[in-house]
């Protein structure tokens, strides 16, 4: 059984997440950790808005939060978000990775260390290479990898970079992703 889901995206990510997250059911079995690049801006209003239109409970992550199923945790601006081996969240103000803090690579790698082959990693639309290394790490640990089809993504660089690093399990159109995630959330 999978234990967690991680999602990384940048340009076009607000819209993409609005398509995926509200389509997930209230009894969705996995916790979701999200890195969305939005520069120095805070994401309070987006998180609130998304929470309002979703059945899952969505918030900006806090340090030492226990990672619980049915909850969605957004990385705060200007901090890397990591998963500890006791399934809690930690932050780091370390250097940017691919000009990004939070970085998708940092989240995905630490999540792979903890959840190993019971992790699902998703890369959506975006404008840089962040996430490609992280998704590869998830695959190396035996996890499941999914990338939005770059042909139809708002920005293709991020999904393309991910596809060039890893032999990913699923390449899907944006509107097909939530159903696949529901399937993966209950799969043995």
């Amino acid at each position: 059984m999978n234990k967690a889901l991680v999602i990384g995206t940048s340009f076009g990510g607000l819209e993409a997440l609005k398509t995926i997250i509200p389509a997930l059911p209230a009894d969705f079995k996995l916790p979701i950790l999200v890195v969305l690049h939005i520069g120095d801006h805070n994401n309070d209003s987006f998180v609130q808005y998304l929470n309002g239109i979703s059945k899952l409970s969505i918030k900006e992550a806090e340090e030492k939060d226990e990672i619980k199923k049915g909850h969605v945790y957004f990385a705060p601006p200007n901090y890397h978000m990591m998963v500890e081996d006791d399934e809690t969240i930690s932050f780091s103000a370390d250097l940017k990775v691919h000009h990004s803090r939070p970085s998708i690579d940092v989240l995905f790698e630490s999540a792979a260390w903890t959840y190993k082959n019971r992790l699902v990693g998703v890369i959506l639309t975006g404008l840089n290479q962040d996430g490609a290394y992280g998704l590869k790490t998830i695959k190396d640990y035996g996890g499941t990898t999914l990338v939005e089809n770059p042909e139809n993504a708002v920005a293709s660089i991020m999904p393309k970079a991910a596809l060039s690093e890893t032999n990913v399990d699923f390449v899907l159109e944006l509107d097909k992703i939530s159903n696949k995630l529901i399937e993966l959330s209950v799969q043995d």
């Binding site: 340090e63 030492k64 990591m82 500890e84 930690s90 780091s92 370390d94 082959n117």
Partner: protein, 280 residues
């Protein structure tokens, strides 16, 4: 049946605790209660640039080579900082802490984990503009002697100067940031009058004790690297060091949650993480 990989412990997760124990035994620097993901990431980075085949291999090196240990200290301490980092914090500090500080005849301040000192100079500028600097004694501490040297000299690269200026203005700065430094050879050097009241000193929050009773503690973006036990220990240390009604300022993503002293402090500005020690 497919082997369940989550039940297999990676060798590295056996090796890292042994490595940290070796570092502690040999050099008395204690990283055993740091956030594991943070330590693992930094050690893997060093392992990769040093071309070590394993953490055990690197352990052999660190036990025998002090210079290598010094490099490792750099890896494990995060020294990313900037002038007036989180300007809203400084703005709130001016509004909510300065009025109390003005009631003290003499003000002792502990800036714990000061790194390369940008935030120490930021605070000194703020205190000067509020007419308080001359009655302050600031202890700026870090466990990393290399960064303390940089902090003492107060010389910084100009590449982030634009950001520093913007932060200063957003923080409620009353003058021009350029009034406080001289520009030379592509670097800026802060006016030494700012650091006249600052003592830069080697202090390790993990292994050292209370060294003074202070009116104000700033410790921003240090606790995030610690596990709950260590956070608790350090908050105890701060509680013990503060006078009654003394202020504690943490980083924007840090809190007193899960510590023994969660209720021993009152919120002054919950969002900017400014707290005040309760009486009793």
């Amino acid at each position: 049946m497919e082997q369940n990989k989550s039940s297999v412990i990676d060798n590295i997760d056996i090796e890292i605790p042994l490595f940290l124990e070796a570092v502690y035994q040999k050099y008395s620097y204690d990283f055993r209660d740091y956030s594991k993901a943070h330590v693992k990431r930094r050690l893997l980075h060093r392992m990769s640039i040093g071309r070590f085949t394993s953490i055990s291999h690197m352990q052999e090196k660190v036990l025998r080579d002090k210079a290598f240990f010094i490099d490792l200290l750099e890896d494990l301490s995060i020294n990313v900082t900037e002038m007036f980092r989180d300007p809203d914090f400084y703005k709130s500090f001016r509004e909510n802490v300065v009025p109390t500080l003005k009631t003290y005849p003499f003000i002792k301040i502990w800036h714990a984990g000061c790194s390369t000192g940008e935030e120490v100079y930021s605070l000194a500028i703020l205190l000067k503009e509020e007419g308080l600097l001359d009655r302050c004694q600031v202890y700026a501490t870090d466990f990393n002697r290399k960064v303390l040297e940089i902090a003492k000299h107060g010389i910084y690269q100009t590449q982030e100067l634009d950001k520093f200026q913007r932060n200063y203005i957003k923080s409620g700065g009353k003058e021009k940031l350029s009034d406080y430094y001289t520009l030379k050879y592509g670097s800026i050097k802060f006016d030494q009058a700012l650091s006249k009241h600052v003592v830069f000193a080697d202090h390790n929050l993990v292994t050292d004790h209370v060294f003074a009773e202070v009116n104000l503690i700033l410790c921003r973006n240090v606790l995030i690297y610690f596990n709950r036990e260590l956070q608790n220990k350090v908050i105890n240390l701060f509680h013990e060091s503060l006078v009654h009604s003394g202020h504690l300022c943490l980083g924007s993503k840090e809190s007193l949650r899960f510590t023994q002293h969660e209720h021993s402090f009152a919120d002054i500005d919950a969002k900017q993480k400014i707290f005040k020690k309760k009486i009793g």
